[in-house]
């Protein structure tokens, strides 16, 4: 008998195989095996110590393990790589790792020495001379002492109130392989070696990344075999991709997310935002070196009008750095109202009745819109502002290094966390030329930030944080705009998971709904 399949049989088989997904039953009941999520910035590095923002961090959280990790959609933690974690004193934490947790690509199993390397490298310059921008997360870390192959002790020079939430359980607590980082060098940035639920299989500039389930991961198996993190900068394009089913999950601005409510197969959830926006002024560049000019700008602007234009009035106004749910929120912060006469008086008093300036802004509709309103409002007091609209690649570098000295004003959005020290760390003197684009350098603020992170008593810590915000307010270098409301839009058959604020995603905890 001829056992070779005929061409007709092969075609019939192929047709049947192609038709299988259309059949109801088993495949449909199992749900999706892969999903696509939107990232609005290009990936820079998945290395936890050098990540450029939450978009990098969200991938790192899925690729690396931590000693402890947050439970899905919660700030409560549970053991992850650690079999045991015990705080024996305010400055000492002991840990024991689970055995046999394998790094990908043949880099062996996780040891206490990898934990030591992962945490201590935040304070040490990398071979290329760069230090981690997240050094503050590990503030007070003295050393990680290795007491056995799988056990060790984290020793702090001073208590760190945010250590568990900000460092240990989050991206800064990700455990990398010492051997892999050393051997791969710069290549490790986008070819990370982790032991977590997913591994990065490809990354392409302007396109995104593909994550695939790590078969060697010893923890709970994630729901999806593959996650595609698609780079889509324009929110409207992301909305269309969601509608067409090309995308399963995206965080969108309110103006784009609202119309999606009620769209077939799409769910929209709204969360109080932990991301915050402000208009910053470079204090070290004339004429903004004069506080009266900065105060005049603050009086010239109408924050409520800017928010109405940028967010359809759906974003709450922010009057200080720390937003309401976070410890240290300054409820009595001054609410500045527009006062054209006062702005003109201050400018005249400063000897600058007419100023030509520039507002650097990201090329996102909401930012551009608010900047246009700011431009018009400033124009009425004699400040002629030109908009310097930049795409993501150049915008995020505009205020860094030497180039940062030339920035006049800028509109900025930072992502926050529930701990005040995380929010405060970007405005210390050592962040000038990094993320402190205002070039706000106050030794008193630096001391308060340092004190606040070590303070264990919530009431005393809150007072320190408020005092620090008063200094920021007095500088008049910050015009706070909003902690924007986060809108998470997703296909109804996908259940996303993220930490409060919806900025920090738990990709490995996404499930079929």
């Amino acid at each position: 008998m001829n056992r070779h399949p005929s061409r007709r049989a092969a075609l019939a088989g192929a047709a049947a195989a192609a038709g299988l997904p259309l059949l109801p039953g088993r495949a449909a009941a199992q749900g999706k095996t892969s999903i696509a999520v939107r990232v609005e910035r290009d990936f820079v590095t998945f290395d936890p110590a050098f990540r450029s923002g939450p978009h990098d961090g969200n991938v790192a959280r899925a690729v690396f393990q931590r000693l402890i990790a947050q439970k899905p959609n919660s700030v409560e933690t549970e053991l992850d790589a650690a079999a045991e974690l015990k705080q024996v004193s305010p400055t000492t934490i002991e840990f024991t790792l689970k055995p046999g947790q394998a790094f990908t690509d043949g880099y062996g199993t996780m040891t206490a020495d990898d934990v030591k390397f992962s945490y201590e490298r935040f304070a040490v310059a990398a071979p290329d001379g760069k230090t981690s921008p997240y050094t503050g997360d590990w503030s007070g870390l003295k050393a990680v002492e290795v007491t056995g192959p799988l056990s060790g002790r984290i020793v702090l020079a001073q208590p760190n109130a945010g250590l568990f939430a900000i460092a240990l359980a989050d991206v800064s607590g990700c455990i990398v392989s010492r051997k892999a980082v050393t051997e791969r060098g710069a290549e490790h940035a986008l070819k990370p070696v982790g032991s977590g639920p997913y591994q990065v299989v490809s990354v392409e500039k302007q396109r995104g990344a593909v994550l695939r389930r790590n078969p060697a991961y010893s923890g709970p198996k994630p729901a999806f075999e593959e996650i595609r993190a698609n780079f889509i900068q324009d929110p409207k394009t992301a909305e269309l991709a969601l509608r067409s089913g090309e995308l399963d999950f995206a965080i969108l601005p309110p103006g784009v997310a609202e119309p999606l409510r009620g769209a077939s197969g799409i769910a929209v959830e709204q969360f109080p935002g932990l991301a915050y926006l402000w208009l910053g002024i470079n204090m070290q560049k004339a004429p903004f070196t004069d506080i009266r000019v900065r105060q005049a700008i603050r009086y010239a602007l109408d924050v409520d009008q800017m928010l109405l234009a940028g967010f359809n009035g759906k974003a709450p106004r922010l009057n200080a750095l720390v937003m309401p749910p976070v410890l240290g929120h300054w409820a009595e912060a001054p609410v500045y109202r527009r006062n054209v006469a006062e702005a003109k008086r201050l400018l005249a008093e400063a000897g600058h009745p007419a100023i030509r300036t520039r507002i650097t802004v990201l090329n996102q509709p909401a930012f551009q819109t608010m900047a246009l309103v700011a431009r018009a409002l400033l124009g009425e007091v004699g400040i002629t502002a030109e908009l310097d609209v930049q795409e993501g690649g150049t915008f995020w570098e505009a205020g860094k290094g030497e180039a940062g000295k030339d920035v006049d004003m800028f509109m900025m959005r930072f992502n926050g966390k529930l701990d005040p020290s995380f929010l405060m760390q970007w405005y210390t003197s050592d962040q000038v030329g990094v993320w402190n684009w205002q070039r706000f350098a106050s030794p008193e603020y630096d001391a308060l930030a340092k004190e606040a992170i070590a303070e264990g008593d919530p009431a005393r810590r809150s007072a320190l944080v408020i005092r620090a915000q008063e200094l920021m307010d007095r500088s008049a270098a910050f015009v706070w705009l909003t902690n924007d409301t986060a809108f998470a839009a997703h296909r109804s058959n996908v259940k996303p998971a993220f930490l409060p604020g919806a900025i920090d995603w738990q990709l490995d905890r996404f499930t079929n709904a």
Binding site: A309, N312, L387
Partner: protein
């Protein structure tokens, strides 16, 4: 006098065709809007009125307002000025540069002609968008940059036509007669060659105008062209697109303007070509 009467004849020939008359009317309307925009516009195109954003058409705002409460009609009128500025600058620069290079290529020896033709090939190998992306990466986006990029991409187009035209007439009996009379090459080029090849080049320029208008709008739409708050039809469409769920009017109005302008210039260009080169009339 001869030139004027020639132009008048051409204009009458263009207007005598239904498509040409429509094209001429559209071109005239756009030119008036561009030249007299401060008079034709009813509002300051950059004046914000946040409380009246997305307003519908009314006696106050003929075409309604955009997401910042700016008057759409006025922005459309000023957008015509930007479109015409970019188009006329780019076309003129490409026409002059291309004609000079094309004439030069046809007038020099093969050894010197080759580099000019290679230059045309090199420029033509870059689509305008790719060239614009590269230029923006180096110099940053601006209106001037859009003009230069568009002019550069059109230059070989005019250069090749100019070269072919010059090659066609350079050995004509009247040119040979001039040479025998001792006329210099410069005189022959300026007084005889250029006037004889001008017609087809001007027709080509009129046909390229709508292309430039759409290229400018396209570059501005993707953020590589005109900077906010300057009104361009491309930025009007982009702004409207971002707020499509709030109002469809800005996108509809700006797209219609772009469509009508493109159609008008195309009809005008085709009618002009038919009028200048009657051999093509009815031949299509």
């Amino acid at each position: 006098m001869t030139i004027l009467s020639g132009s008048g004849r051409t204009a009458r020939a263009v207007a005598s065709r239904p498509g040409g008359a429509l094209g001429l009317a559209v071109v005239a309307a756009i030119l008036v809007a561009a030249l007299a925009s401060p008079i034709v516009a009813t509002h300051d195109p950059d004046a914000l009125d946040i409380l009246h954003r997305f307003a519908g058409p009314s006696a106050e705002h003929w075409l309604g307002t955009d997401h910042l409460g700016r008057d759409l009609y006025s922005r459309l009128v000023f957008g015509a000025r930007v479109a015409m500025e970019v188009a006329l600058f780019a076309i003129t620069a490409a026409l002059v540069g291309g004609t000079l290079l094309g004439t030069l290529a046809a007038s020099v020896s093969a050894g010197w002609e080759r580099p000019i033709l290679v230059l045309f090939d090199v420029i033509s190998s870059f689509p305008s968008l790719v060239l614009a992306l590269a230029a923006v990466a180096v110099f940053g986006p601006s209106t001037l940059l859009v003009m230069i990029v568009v002019a550069a991409t059109l230059l070989p187009h005019f250069g090749r036509v100019a070269r072919a035209q010059v090659l066609g007439v350079r050995n004509a009996p009247f040119i040979e007669a001039e040479r025998l009379l001792g006329a210099s090459e410069t005189r022959i080029v300026l007084h005889h060659l250029l006037p004889n090849i001008a017609g087809p080049l001007i027709v080509l320029a009129s046909i390229d105008l709508p292309v430039v208008i759409t290229v400018e709008a396209g570059l501005s739409f993707i953020g590589l062209g005109v900077r906010p708050p300057l009104a361009s039809w491309g930025t009007l469409i982009y702004d409207g697109y971002a707020y499509l769920s709030d109002s469809k009017l800005p996108v509809a109005v700006a797209s219609a303007a772009l469509g009508i302008a493109t159609l008008g210039f195309t009809l005008f260009g085709e009618a002009l070509r038919d009028a200048v080169d009657p051999r093509l009339d009815g031949g299509r």
